[in-house]
Subunit: 114 residues, 2 copies
DNA sequence: GCGATACTAAGTGAAATAGCTAACTATAGC
DNA sequence: GCTATAGTTAGCTATTTCACTTAGTATCGC
């Protein structure tokens, strides 16, 4: 649990920027080169590259260079971490309101782990 | 869609810090005062207060002061925004994954994109 | 009223973030 | 080999973040 914390730091940090979220959304439709990804943004390429680097260093995307082109693709597993954290939180605060009901109706507690 | 983006910025930013995530987790078990929340952290109170302020300003928690004590409580609805964004993303790339699987299992649809 | 408690305000500083330009490397195409 | 393209490196700046200390305000309890 502790080792996730550090990852979550950088992942949430990465997600905190609209440019980077937009890149992820774009990559959700399929892989793309850095140049293609950069096009919609009114930003110098080196600036944009920092976002790509950041996304890769926290594991949200994977990239590989073929020739002079760097191809980027999303890494869904990484976002599962966020999903997991969020699910935990939801369980906590929903559990607080639902606990009584649950105890009365379902004595068994199920844990959907990854 | 645009107005969500700004909110997501500050929410993800807030979640990017382990102290703030820990506060949320603690608050998931129920409301608490600033002092109670601060106790586990080896941090000066003014520093800690900034985290509280940040969590409140992005809407993840609500606080009210009664007497000299400020009580904090979580605001689950706010995290639903994150949940929504994440769900959208999942839909995107799961859709893609499903499509790929379909291509692999059903050679009827010809699309040599790999 | 007076001291202790629970924050709050103000000011400092190191480090990270997010952008820029200019110059460079490596590949593709002719 | 020369030129254009795609990305990279280096170095600069402004802003934000995250912590600190010191001092102040506003209750609470006696």
């Amino acid at each position: 649990m502790e080792q996730f914390s550090h990852s979550l730091d950088s992942i949430f940090q990465a997600l905190a920027d609209p440019t980077r979220r937009a890149v992820l959304e774009r990559l959700g439709h399929g892989p793309a080169s850095v140049g293609e990804l950069a096009m919609p943004f009114d930003m110098a390429l080196p600036s944009f590259m920092k976002h790509i680097t950041m996304l890769e260093s926290c594991g949200l995307i994977r990239t590989r260079k073929s020739g002079r082109v760097r191809h980027c693709a999303i890494d869904p597993q990484r976002l599962a971490l966020v999903d997991g954290w969020l699910a935990d939180q939801r369980t906590l605060w929903n559990g607080r309101t639902d606990r009584l009901e649950r105890l009365l109706t379902q004595p068994k507690d199920k844990d959907p782990s990854a």
